[in-house]
């Protein structure tokens, strides 16, 4: 049934706005909130994947347009190359994640959630202190490839065990590795859009085994996400990078605390 729900549009806009600006929080924050509002996982998860795939490409396009990042394909820019590498690892992860969740295996959920919450919290807190210690403008920091691939692997592993935390690990991992904050969040958007496409394909694959999905929320989620995907790259452009240097890790800390709260009180 096609319908637009104002509350859902507003919530989707807020989470997509923060996800576009800080590179994290759309899936991690919105999924539990929609579940609390009474929607089922099969109404929420595929809807978020479809919406994030489309808005992810829109965000990436406008991040390139507003010069927060260079995603040129001919010749292939380093930013696009990195997004493809990170996205590729995430694609393998999400395929295994969905198969494990809906087909057979169930991993110890609380332990995995605790691991992700602590990882995100630690990375966020470390980034805040790292900023305080490194007051000098990190303009020409050399990007460390080893760290980049290491964090991509950790994020892919998280995706693979279905624990979330892909955005925070990838975003903060890139920043640790020396990627400029504004570009790091744009690269995550493109990588996540690719990951979501594999997620959608996998979901439609499992529907062949009798799992039914419900896309009632899609128009509302997509509307909120679309507005944010256009506005946020422009706001990222006009806001100085030093602001994002603090906003991103602080938002990661909030997400980490939120994840821990969820584990303890639910």
């Amino acid at each position: 049934m096609f319908q637009l729900i104002i509350l859902i549009i507003l919530i989707a806009f807020i989470f997509e706005f923060m996800d576009s600006a800080a590179g994290m929080g759309f899936g991690t924050g919105l999924t539990p909130l929609l579940l609390i509002l009474g929607y089922s996982p099969l109404q929420v998860v595929p809807t978020l994947l479809i919406s994030q795939a489309i808005t992810g490409f829109i965000k990436s396009y406008f991040s390139h347009e507003f010069e927060n990042v260079n995603f040129s394909l001919r010749p292939l820019s380093d930013s696009a190359k990195l997004a493809f590498i990170i996205g590729g690892i995430g694609c393998i992860g999400i395929f295994f994640s969905i198969m494990l969740t809906y087909m057979a295996l169930h991993l110890p959920k609380t332990f995995i959630q605790f691991y992700v919450a602590m990882l995100v919290l630690f990375m966020g807190v470390f980034s805040v202190f790292r900023n305080k210690m490194k007051q000098k403008q990190a303009d020409e920091i050399e990007i460390k490839s080893g760290l980049l691939f290491g964090f991509s692997a950790i994020a892919g592993f998280n995706k693979g065990i279905g624990a979330g935390g892909y955005g925070p690990v990838i975003t903060l991992g890139q920043i640790y590795s020396g990627v400029y904050e504004k570009s790091a969040t744009a690269i995550v958007s493109l990588a996540e859009a690719m990951v979501c496409i594999v997620g959608i394909v996998t979901f439609f694959f499992i529907t062949a085994f009798g799992v039914e999905i419900d896309l009632t929320l899609l128009p509302s989620i997509f509307t909120g996400g679309f507005i944010a995907a256009i506005i946020t790259p422009y706001l990222v452009r006009i806001t100085p990078n030093k602001i994002w240097r603090y906003v991103i890790p602080l938002y990661a800390v909030i997400i980490g605390i939120y994840l821990l709260y969820k584990i303890i009180f639910t």
């Binding site: 096609f2 260079n70 050399e142 504004k182 997509f222 990078n241």
Partner: protein, 49 residues
């Protein structure tokens, strides 16, 4: 492996707020196309869902 990421963003950051606020005409056109894409997508959703 040397990476060249973020040089465009750094360049924009070095400009004044007035310069950063400027939007090119082509960008406005592209936003218009994106809005059109939104309505087409919603029509598709209304048929599929």
């Amino acid at each position: 492996m040397g990476w060249n990421i973020g040089s465009e963003a750094r360049e924009i950051d070095s400009k004044s707020l007035k310069e950063r606020l400027k939007i090119e005409k082509t960008t406005i056109k592209r936003i218009g196309f994106a809005v059109l894409f939104y309505f087409v997508t919603m029509v598709i959703f209304s048929i599929v869902i």
